[in-house]
């Protein structure tokens, strides 16, 4: 309890208003530092913030300490402002009590409790932001899937019919392709040409990948699946062309100009 009665409650309100106006700024700075830390530690956050620079390892620890300082300062501010208002209210009640039997004399003192400081280690929880933010990422992916599904449903019926027919037939093509690849790998097997065998096995691997990736051709993922399958097809074709050219080179059918 103070020795002087009569602190004006408007004084406490004025301090509270100032603190409130500054609180948002402190929150924004804290958020900047937090994001800097996340971007530096979490590859997903880094990817979600194109062009972001990352903190040096030592600075990551310092940033954790900065966040702890700001968090503590804000918590202490809340506590002190509450305490000041309670003090002012109490003094005001007491000041307005003319005789010692007036209820104001029994007004309770400040009850605000000083908060415990957080440590930089508490801030380290964000080190595992990759886990704590999983729900965010799941939400983002879910949103993309929803958008794709909506897009698929809104396509003209003729288009979806054609795509379904093509995928119905097309899904067998990789199986035929891998059959040919395995057959040619076995028939072309040459113990004296290890690299040639490896090339053929890689060709089989690409065909196998296209079979696995066929699951993405199921609507509504069809557009995404088409891109994946198209990419695998392109890589597979390029690999086959390279393989044929290499075989021809090994057989002496052609030489590089410098050979």
């Amino acid at each position: 309890m103070s020795t002087k009665l009569g602190m004006n409650t408007t004084t406490a309100d004025s301090v509270a208003a100032t603190v409130a106006s500054l609180g948002l700024g402190l929150e924004a700075i804290d958020e900047e530092v937090r994001l800097a830390r996340l971007v530096s530690l979490n590859p997903l956050d880094f990817l979600l913030n194109p062009g972001a620079l990352i903190l040096t390892p030592a600075s990551i620890g310092i940033a954790m300490s900065v966040s702890a300082d700001i968090t503590n300062a804000r918590a202490q501010l809340d506590y002190l402002v509450e305490k000041l208002r309670q003090e002012a209210t109490q003094q005001n009640q007491v000041s307005n009590s003319l005789v010692s039997t007036d209820p104001g004399w029994f007004a309770p003192g400040p009850t605000a409790k000083k908060p415990e400081d957080v440590t930089p280690f508490d801030e380290a929880i964000d080190v595992f932001g990759i886990f704590s933010k999983i729900s965010d990422y799941v939400g983002i992916v879910g949103g993309v899937f929803d958008a794709v599904e909506k897009w698929w449903k809104n396509l003209p019926p003729g288009v979806t019919k054609v795509v379904k027919a093509v995928t119905k037939v097309g899904k067998f093509i990789p199986f035929i392709g891998i059959g040919f690849s395995i057959t040619s790998t076995v028939l072309d097997w040459d113990n004296d040409n290890v690299w040639g065998n490896v090339r053929n096995i890689i060709g089989v691997g690409l065909d196998a990948a296209s079979i696995v990736a066929a699951v993405t051709l199921v609507p509504p993922l069809t557009p995404v699946g088409a891109v994946i399958e198209g990419t695998l097809l392109g890589v597979g074709l390029a690999w086959d062309v390279m393989d044929v050219a290499w075989d021809a080179h090994d057989d002496g059918d052609w030489k590089f100009p410098w050979e």
Binding site: M1, T18, I70, N72, Q91
Partner: protein, 71 residues
């Protein structure tokens, strides 16, 4: 968001400015002597140590932050 040394310098400046405003506010309360005594002294001391002191410390640390330049 593009992190940069300049951004941290600005943030450090904002923290110092915030601390100065809070200091001024509380100095005004102290100067009016509306509230005196041990409770008041403790309040002012906590304000300086736990609030403005921490904000100044955070600003100093922000000055020391460094980014990896080649990314």
């Amino acid at each position: 968001m593009n992190l940069s040394d300049a951004m941290f310098a600005i943030a450090a400046g904002q923290l110092r400015s915030t601390a100065a405003t809070l200091d001024a506010q509380i100095a005004q309360l102290r100067d009016t002597q509306e509230w005196r005594g041990p409770d008041a002294d403790k309040f002012f001391q906590e304000w300086e140590t736990d609030v403005t002191g921490k904000l100044h410390a955070a600003a100093m640390k922000l000055d020391a932050l460094a980014l990896i330049p080649f990314l």
